[in-house]
């Protein structure tokens, strides 16, 4: 429990900063919705000029006037920010352990390494859940304020929860990438490149509809347009998410358990 507390307190800064940024973006975006709605004809004419693939990639739905369609467009960018954040904090777990010798501190304490790793993961996942709850409440309130027709609360919850699931997958991807970049200081560069690569895969996927790409790209697991259409997640991608998280956790836990400190020198 003390490791969870310590990890929770220690890692608060990136979560708080990113939550403030997300809040600012979503408040600003929704405050522009009345302006968007009053110029809907102009935007319709503008969007009609784009090819369907680009609109799909940008998360712009055909029902332009609906606030959920508007939210889907904002959500595309929020998903990128959240994926970047989750990836970065996942990568930092191994990196900070290495740079500040926290691993050395824990490894000589009377506690099993796999439990240390589990507690560190829980401490970070707690932040992901807290920031999700905050984000969901804020977006829910904003949608209620600005909506112009009835919207299912469950759909809003499902859309927002897809963001949490996306973050969890990217967090574990970050863990495994971070285990190979322990001595790297500029992790954000790697995180940015990885998110861009996955987003490029998204673009190729939306253009070419290659089935396998959907399975290797977390951005494609829970698309908002599909959630709005079907009113539920695709179960196969829920299963894929659980399997990926389970294997990445086991793999990273194994790395943490067998890691050597100072084993590469001859002192």
């Amino acid at each position: 429990m003390i490791i969870i507390q310590n990890e929770f307190v220690r890692s608060r800064r990136p979560y708080i900063i990113s939550s403030i940024v997300l809040s600012a973006i979503i408040i600003l975006s929704f405050s522009l919705y009345p302006l968007y709605y009053s110029n809907l004809d102009y935007f319709k004419a503008l969007f009609d000029k784009f090819p369907p693939t680009t609109l799909s990639f940008l998360g712009i739905a055909y029902d332009y006037g609906n606030i959920l369609s508007y939210y889907t467009f904002i959500f595309t960018f929020l998903a990128i920010i959240c994926a970047f954040r989750a990836l970065l904090v996942g990568m930092r777990i191994f990196s900070i352990d290495n740079l500040e010798q926290r691993a050395r501190f824990y490894y000589v304490k009377p506690i099993e390494r796999k439990r240390v790793f589990l507690y560190k993961v829980i401490g970070n996942l707690a932040w992901l859940v807290i920031s999700f709850v905050w984000y969901h409440l804020l977006s829910f309130i904003l949608i209620l304020i600005f909506k112009r027709n009835s919207i299912s609360n469950l759909t809003i919850l499902q859309i927002n929860t897809s963001l949490l699931l996306l973050e969890i997958v990217f967090f574990f991807i970050g863990l495994i990438v971070g285990s190979f970049l322990k001595k790297e200081h500029r992790l954000w560069v790697f995180a940015l490149v990885i998110v861009i690569i996955f987003k490029c895969i998204s673009f190729i996927d939306s253009s070419l509809k290659i089935v396998i790409l959907r399975y290797i790209n977390p951005f494609s697991y829970f698309t908002v347009s599909e959630i709005i259409e079907a009113g539920k997640y695709q179960y196969r991608f829920l299963i894929v998410t659980v399997v990926i998280v389970f294997f990445l956790y086991q793999f990273c836990s194994g790395i943490y358990e067998n890691e050597e400190i100072g084993g590469d020198s001859f002192d």
Binding site: L99, E100, Y107, V108, I111, E112, I261, G263, S265, D267
Partner: protein, 290 residues
Amino acid sequence: MERVTIEVKRITKEIGSKKSLDNIDLTAHASEILALIGPNGSGTCSLCRALVGLINVDQGKISYFNHSLKNDKAYIMNFVGYKPSLFVPWKKTSLIKYFTYSSKFYQGDFLPNALRLMEYFHLMPQAKLENLTAEELQKVAIIDAIYFDPEVIILENLMTSLSADTKALVKALLLDLKARSKTIIFTANNLDDADFADTKRLMKNGAILPLDSYEHINKDYKRVLIKAKRAIDLEELRGPRYKGLVIDGDQAFFIYLGDVNSLLAALGNIALVDISITNPCLEELYRVIE
């Protein structure tokens, strides 16, 4: 003889094609101070890291109080304190916060011990770790290894970065711990820092040298610098007793294998202006030792 606390049997660790630990056997007892002496790269710190499970050995077995380190590490670490060679401070953490957190991993209230030791080493509990000097960080690392009253204390590069005053404090502290039946193992880069140890083991190329090697070296090897009235002839200092011989005109430097009397007798044919006979440092010895 006090009870055996650590037993190391034939441990080996390879990094690449080189052995950092080579077939090491070691036993330590309660109330014993054991010094592992060797220059950088000799394997002393690798052995310490293996003893606390920071590196995994390829072969062999390490046990504490008959408990295998491999199987019962979490339990064993209740009784083992460890000081790394380099203590990297946690950012923006004060000493008191660090030890408050660290002490929560042990059963019992050991924070007062940490505070007492901070006072002993003249450290301010509210000081931030990142603002401490290298010597102060060494002190913190030593406190970290002993404040929870462990039975076995393993200290890497114990005296590095410490002033003479602090060294005296550390020696007094370790002798007190020894009196309380603790086992203390530490590494040293030179012979002088290990003078208070009960057992001194020399390491070279990842292996422990024979048991009598420390006494043998300390007694039989002398570092000699002479200045003669005339240029010194190489033939005058030829022989198996003169190691690492360097002649520069009327001066010569060498490590002499033998006692002082035989040395003085051997130099009887040379008209000397000055002579310096001291104990060689470890690096000099390791260059000439077979």
